[in-house]
Symmetry: C2
Subunit: 331 residues, 2 copies
């Protein structure tokens, strides 16, 4: 196993120290493993809490800051945070206007966020939840009832974060979250497996000449394996199922071409060119894009494509200033 780590058991603790040291705009509650804004949001605004297993950085901790999340809970590697962590985050950031939980659709995450929401509600915090379920690859999966929540989470945290920052109330913020959820779809693929430090060996085997189409962000199986194709062919295998699932023709969209962690940027740029060519053909207009590593699977090589329908409201929220370790503009 080739990794820049100290002890296997300390990876998350050490990484949280590094995140806190590198970004003056966040602080870390190390006991609860919650990343919070250094300066809390103004009273009266809706707060956003997300979180999930570690190993997907910059998601979620790298998206805490002005214009995005108020807090992110870091679970063990590829494992949901506990309800205790989520509840601590929720009560810490509530500014009196309620808290939205942004949950990727994985069974453990959904269950734990539900419990945390109940506890927080008992303590008088108004909690709403959006469950992101954008992965068109499989209907159910190893860890999920229904579709997995993947790349759309990044776009949702940005857009809904802007709505909350504007001061919209909890119902209005939830409405934006639902709109994003309804208009967004993703599909991913892997060239290689990934290695969880505690396991010390790759999560699965993928022969030197094969790729997996429809992979999940924990290396859980996708649709099928086949010989590695061209970038053009891979782009088609990611874009076609998305367009087949939801009619994007004639729509403006935000597109993300996301790297799985070990994919060089030159390949992501190249993939973006292929994705754009396919969308041009399909009559889909790219209004905004994001190319880079935003929701990763440790050291997996591969990529995912996310499309989101973007009307004027969505684009306005997308363009609003954001200042986080993972996304930053306008400030």
């Amino acid at each position: 196993m080739k990794k820049l780590i100290n002890e296997v058991d300390d990876v998350i603790t050490d990484a949280l120290k590094g995140i806190e040291a590198s970004d003056e705009n966040v602080r870390v509650d190390h006991q609860n493993r919650v990343i919070l804004r250094a300066t809390p949001k103004e009273k009266g605004k809706v707060a956003l809490v997300s979180g999930g297993g570690s190993g997907h950085e910059p998601l979620h901790g790298g998206f805490v800051g002005l214009g995005m999340l108020d807090a992110a809970c870091a679970g063990q590697m590829f494992t949901s945070p506990t309800p205790d962590q989520m509840q601590a985050a929720t009560t810490a950031v509530d500014a009196g206007a309620g808290v939205l939980h942004i949950v990727k659709n994985y069974t453990g995450d959904v269950m734990n966020f539900e419990m945390a929401a109940e506890i927080a509600a008992d303590e008088g915090v108004k909690v709403a939840t959006v469950v992101v379920a954008d992965d068109v690859a499989v209907q159910d999966s190893l860890y999920t009832a229904g579709r997995r929540g993947v790349g759309l989470t990044v776009l949702l945290e940005k857009i809904v974060g802007a709505a909350a920052e504007e001061g919209r109330d909890l119902d209005a913020v939830v409405a934006v979250a639902n709109k994003v959820n309804e208009g967004g779809r993703s599909m991913g693929m892997a060239l290689t497996s990934c290695t969880v430090p505690a396991a010390g060996k790759p999560t699965f085997d993928l022969p030197e000449d094969e790729m997996e189409i429809g992979i999940g962000i924990h290396g859980e199986p996708g649709r099928h394996r086949e010989k590695i194709g061209s970038a053009r062919d891979i782009a088609k295998q990611l874009v076609d199922p998305i367009l087949h699932d939801l009619d994007y023709a004639g729509s403006d969209v935000i597109v993300m071409v996301n790297g799985m962690g070990a994919t060089p940027l030159i390949e992501l740029y190249l993939m973006y060119g292929e994705v754009k060519a396919l969308l041009d053909e399909a009559g889909v207009t790219i209004a905004r894009n994001l190319v880079g590593n935003y929701i990763t699977s440790l050291d997996m090589a591969g990529c995912s494509v996310t499309l989101l329908k973007a009307d004027e409201e969505i684009l306005g929220l997308w363009d609003a200033p954001v200042k986080t370790a993972g996304l930053r503009w306008g400030l």
Copy 2:
């Protein structure tokens, strides 16, 4: 070879199409393989041209835009661009106040930029050159007389870009470039080799339990190989030679912890924590930092550390707005 590419011979062409498609603020001269600002700088301001072998993305093409470069020449993979490319870039961006060539110290790049400067001078363009030579690992290397130019190039392009944007004249811009060059040092390491697409196999072999300390950005040999150590030990092996080479005690610095292309962000955050602890111990104050993939070596896993002395002038230029694919803030 596991890569998201089409034909091996088309990687750079295809990637340039993707870069152009993804960033509305740049355009590409495909014949000369030059990435340019979509909107040229105002007349009367110094223009900055850089470039080098491809495979180090986002360097240099991802740093073209407001507040950084005016043009970047993309060479073949790990191979200097030609004088023709550089000359085309230089004459294209000259706004009447002269052009600064930012050159990483590799023999081919230095020679070709010299030829391009001569041709451009003959055409009446005032050209100055700064050769970045910040790598403390080795005195000479496989491709270099003197120190290699590595991570500092990223910081220099940002800082000098801001100086040019402010409207400083060529002498003043060169003075800033020299100041950055004098106050900056880097050192890198690799956990794995990298694969140039045309070669189809790793540039060098690195056993499963070994790392290379002092590696160059093309996989050229560093100082030595040894068994993989802890992140703490690796940070020390990168920071100590830098501090030994230049006295940073008592200085404010900008620190970059840079990934080599295939290193997950969680490991870079973790490394940043270790680097910061060592600098704290050494009495070096981190004023700003950058953690991520900024100057890469295709699919190499590993990292580098860059330190730069940062006085008020340097920090002011660092904080100035920038809007490029690779770095963006304040706009």
